[in-house]
């Protein structure tokens, strides 16, 4: 009986020894390395619309800039000056990722995947009308280039520029710039307060 008890103790202690050995083995990681910082690759921080009046005049730029991406700071929206009534402007967009240095230009990616992207221009108070000037491989509008025709009288309103990813480009009205049936996901949505003089 006594020998059995001794054996029992021996075996129990052996088990605990094995357990200690296992614990000792398991800490095998290199904690000293810090993780590398992530600079978001396809984030769009800045959208700049440049409007050049046909026949000369003041060039107007509108910009929305959100350097902290999904962070708490709201985008900074600027409009360089008022638009002139009854004027045709040639418009173009530049999209940047300014979290990188130097800033990455997103236009190229959008042009490469033009079949999957479309910009929409919406206004309140009918302050202006828009025409697409660039098209994707299927002949559907893209919207990086456009013309803007201001209303005939002085007024104020909002211009909303929306970039949709994978919209239904063939849905009713979408090729005319109507966002209602476009679907897809919003990549950019910027609202600019506009004054027509």
């Amino acid at each position: 009986m006594k020998t059995l008890t001794l054996k029992t103790i021996k075996q129990v202690s052996l088990l605990f020894l094995i357990s200690i050995a296992f614990t000792a083995c398991s800490s095998d990681d290199d904690n000293t390395n810090n993780p590398e910082p992530v600079n978001e690759e396809e984030v769009i921080t800045t959208l700049t619309a440049t409007l050049i009046p046909v026949g000369g005049g003041t060039i107007v730029t509108m910009q929305t800039r959100d350097l902290d991406g999904d962070g708490p700071n709201a985008p900074v929206v600027t409009v360089s000056s008022d638009l002139v009534a009854n004027t045709v402007y040639n418009g173009s967009l530049v999209l940047l990722n300014e979290t990188e240095s130097p800033a990455g230009e997103i236009n190229e990616e959008i042009v490469e995947e033009s079949n999957d992207h479309q910009f929409f221009y919406n206004v309140t108070n009918s302050i202006a009308t828009f025409t697409y000037e660039d098209f994707d491989d299927n002949g559907n509008p893209l919207g990086l280039e456009f013309t803007l025709t201001t209303a005939a009288t002085a007024m104020t309103g909002n211009l909303t520029i929306t970039l949709r990813h994978e919209p239904s480009k063939n849905a009713v009205g979408v090729s005319d710039g109507d966002i209602t049936n476009a679907g897809g996901e919003t990549d950019v949505q910027a609202i600019f307060p506009v004054v027509i003089q």
């Binding site: 088990l15 605990f16 614990t23 993780p35 769009i44 350097l67 985008p75 949505q189």
Partner: protein, 798 residues
């Protein structure tokens, strides 16, 4: 050789019987675990056809034997029969230990492989293998919904998380073959990485009363165990093939096990599952397919006294997430909610495109146990788990096929426990465990949702079960856990300041990159849990259970560190470094009635959770993509209470009625409002018919009635929609209407040969192809739930 020896012995004996054979063979038979004498055990010498039985002291004696080697068979009711070879040399005395009360012992084992219930005084339900087989082509969460009080929280049809009495995710422990699953269970979109086909039985314990598994199971514990291994020379297996009309998919599962009488065993199992796009009654649910591959190997040696087990399992789940659920900003969400149909509906396809998840989970486990005479059992186990999770978002350009999330979670756990069960009326189980976990988030070009971290766990517990008499048992448990989490996380400087972390946690910043800060949060948590229970059998028909559980849960990495945009919910989710652990006090009572054809089980609970961690809307933030609501993790005091009912009535040998109903209420006590995501009242009524004469036909018609959840917090808000120029209400709160579904399930069994039988099952879910949306399905904003499915299942046992 042995055979010849035996023959020789017999010859010698026949020859020598006429000779002078005066040897006496005597001995004592004891119960192995408590050493008490076993009365009435049969001692049988086959070669001589002589037998006797033990007396009140466990003693026996057989006279007039010759000196020879004899084979003695010792047997007793409730014991495993033992055969020993004894060399008779004159008067021979031996001591024999029998393994008494095998079933009873298995019940108290933590890592056992048989037995029905794992606890004596907890609210526990057991699912057997035939129920599990029926759900072979589905998920763990689907199978567990068979239990009253268990529901699920879904992201579509393939990501199904079990909810026990209103609680889920890191409030539930999932044990698979003795291993606590560590697979980033904190997120609602992270379903348990378990192949249901690896389980032979499942036990669900409500509440935190099974302290041996962990102290933080405020919701409960789910224990999956592989099929029991029997000690005989055998080769057996099972193959299940099923086909589904909805999703046009198949499921294949096969297993084979070889066992030896001596105790060795080896089993292997593999499963394949493939589904294409599922269908709601009116449209195709584009991008909801599934591709699952898994296998496991289980081998070892098992006897009553000692054994070991080596287990490895591999599971790869590639799950598509409804295309229409991926949205860009709050305007898209408003469009999705207001549109009766999903915004993307394509033709049926087996393709699995982004958004999707691809998760590989591997478990390696080795376990050893030994039982010591008059003492108990010692277990030691080491396990390693590797969980590799990819999440693919819809991305553009060169990153199109790059995952947005790439997390590798590695967990090592070592645990040892001792069960003292040598006394009949009291048993103790105590143990310690140590764990190390490392999470690595690879750079995917998208800010990390969960940071790199190391986590250390240390725990110790003691559980005692006391049987006062045949009708009354008590149990007590105490557990202590220490957790440390040591993370390295980058914060946007703007976020860091906005959360006021600069004043409270300024000392943990270890690097300043200008727009980002690298921080090193280290948090320690001390958790104490306790449980006490009483089970009382009033008389033949009525029994009661009462118990109390105290448990603590440390905040998980998601609750602490979340920080960013959540695409499917179109919201910014923010964790909080200031969160403390939550504390649950749960009392519960059960009443069980069983008489003739009627059985009734009523379980009630009240769970008060102090500092309950939950997520709630706290404002709106503007980004270049538009406006997003901000949801932040907060703490409140919450009370959950409810009633689960299971009733069964058999009219005769063929017909039966069954009802399972469950009501759960959740209340935010501090803010005096309802808790979000509480399961609705649900009642399931079943009428069943079975007839062994008709190819063992079993059939049942199930009516599932889910009421509308009327208690929910109003988290609706208004947002400016630029394209319409108007403020619009974002209704994320209003719950979907009640729904009623009918399901049919039937199967027959055919004997193909002596050892092979074929079971053919036909299951129809949602017979009337009813349109419905379930409150606890996160994709309810985007699409209806799945429609009718007809599944044909062939199960071959051999």
């Amino acid at each position: 050789m042995k055979y010849y020896l035996m023959v020789l012995c017999c010859c010698v004996f026949s020859w020598s019987q006429s000779q002078d054979c005066n040897a006496t063979f005597s001995g004592e038979v004891h119960d192995f675990h408590d050493g008490t004498p076993i009365i009435n055990a049969t001692i049988f010498i086959e070669s001589l056809n002589k037998y006797t039985t033990t007396d009140i002291n466990g003693r026996f004696s057989i006279d007039n034997l010759c000196n020879a080697l004899i084979s003695v068979e010792v047997s007793h009711l409730a014991c495993e029969t033992k055969t020993i070879d004894v060399n008779i040399v004159n008067d021979t005395f031996i001591e024999i230990n029998l393994e008494h009360h095998i079933e009873e012992l298995n019940e108290v084992k933590v890592t056992g492989t048989s037995g029905i219930k794992l606890t004596k005084t907890a609210q526990e339900t057991h699912l057997k293998s035939d129920v599990i087989d029926r759900f072979s082509s589905l998920n763990l969460g689907d199978a567990l919904k068979q239990i009253s009080g268990v529901s699920s929280i879904n992201t579509g049809n393939s990501i199904v998380k079990p909810v026990i009495n209103g609680l889920h995710s890191s409030r539930i422990i999932v044990m698979t073959n003795g291993v606590r699953l560590q697979d980033q269970e904190w997120g609602i979109e992270h379903a348990p990485n378990i192949d249901l086909n690896t389980a032979g039985s499942i036990n669900v314990i409500k509440g935190a009363n099974a302290l041996a598994y962990g102290g933080d199971a405020i919701g409960g514990v789910i224990v999956l165990k592989p099929s029991n291994i029997t000690l005989k020379d055998s080769l057996y297996g099972k193959t299940i093939v099923s086909g589904n009309t909805n999703g046009r998919g198949y499921n294949l599962n096969t297993s084979l096990t070889k066992t030896y009488k001596k105790g060795w065993y080896l089993g292997a199992q593999a499963s394949l599952k493939r589904l294409g796009d599922m269908e709601a009654p009116d449209y195709s649910l584009t991008n909801t397919g599934l591709n699952t591959k898994g296998f496991s190997i289980n081998g070892g040696f098992k006897t009553f006294q000692k054994g070991f087990n080596v287990y490895y399992s591999y599971l790869d789940n590639e799950i598509a997430i409804l295309r229409a659920a991926h949205i860009g900003n709050i305007e898209d969400l408003v469009n999705a909610i207001n549109n009766p149909q999903p915004l993307v509906i394509d033709d049926f396809s087996y393709d699995i495109n982004a958004p999707k998840q691809d998760v590989t989970h591997q478990v390696f486990k080795t376990e050893f146990y030994k039982r010591f005479k008059k003492f108990g059992r010692v277990d030691i186990q080491y396990d390693y788990q590797n969980n590799h999770r990819f999440e693919y978002d819809i991305r553009v350009g060169d990153d199109r096929d790059k995952p947005a999330i790439d997390l590798t979670l590695k967990t090592h756990t070592l645990k040892t426990s001792v069960t003292l069960d040598s006394k009949n009326n009291i048993s103790y189980n105590f143990g310690v465990n140590a764990g190390y976990q490392n999470n690595f988030a690879a750079n995917t070009g998208v800010r990390r949702l969960i940071p790199d971290y190391d986590k250390y766990d240390l725990g110790a517990f003691i559980v005692s079960e006391l049987k006062l008499n045949n009708d009354l048992s008590l149990d007590f448990g105490l557990r202590y856990d220490f957790n440390q989490i040591d993370a390295k996380k980058y914060y946007l400087t703007s976020r860091w300041n906005e959360r006021n972390y600069d004043s409270d946690f300024g000392n943990i910043v270890i690097d300043d990159l200008g727009t980002q800060l690298l921080t090193n949060p280290v948090f320690n948590y001390h958790n104490v849990s306790a449980s006490a229970g009483i089970a009382y059998q009033l008389n033949e028909y009525n029994s009661f259970i009462f118990n109390y559980g105290l448990s603590n849960r440390a905040p998980n990495p998601s609750e602490l560190f979340s920080d960013g945009l959540h695409h499917s919910a179109a919201r910014i989710e923010l964790g909080d470094l200031r969160l403390k652990q939550e504390t649950s006090n749960r009392i519960s009572g059960s009443y069980n009635f069983q008489k003739n054809n009627l059985s009734l089980n009523i379980e009630a609970f009240y769970n008060y959770i102090k500092d309950y961690i939950f997520i709630e809307p706290t404002g709106t933030e503007q980004t270049i993509r538009g406006a997003f609501p901000v949801w932040s993790y907060n703490q409140t005091n919450a009370a959950l209470y409810g009633l689960d009912l299971t009733a069964n009535y058999s009219f005769n040998d063929h017909w039966f009625l069954n009802n399972k109903s469950s009501i759960t209420k959740g209340k935010d006590v501090s803010q005096d409002q309802a808790l979000i995501d509480m399961p609705s009242f649900k009642t399931v009524n079943i009428i069943g018919y079975s007839n062994p004469k008709w190819l063992d036909l079993k059939t049942e018609l199930q009516s599932e009635w889910v009421f509308r959840q009327n208690d929910y917090p109003n988290n609706n808000f208004e947002v400016f929609i630029p394209t319409t120029g108007q403020m619009e209400l974002v209704d994320v709160s209003t719950t979907p209407p009640a729904y009623h579904l009918l399901h049919l399930q039937s199967n027959i069994s055919l004997d193909i040969s002596e050892k092979t039988d074929l079971n053919i099952g036909l299951n129809i879910t949602n017979i009337f192809n009813t349109n419905y949306r379930e409150n606890l399905n996160r994709l309810r904003y985007f699409a209806d739930d799945v429609g009718r499915n007809i599944m044909l299942q062939l199960k071959l046992n051999y």
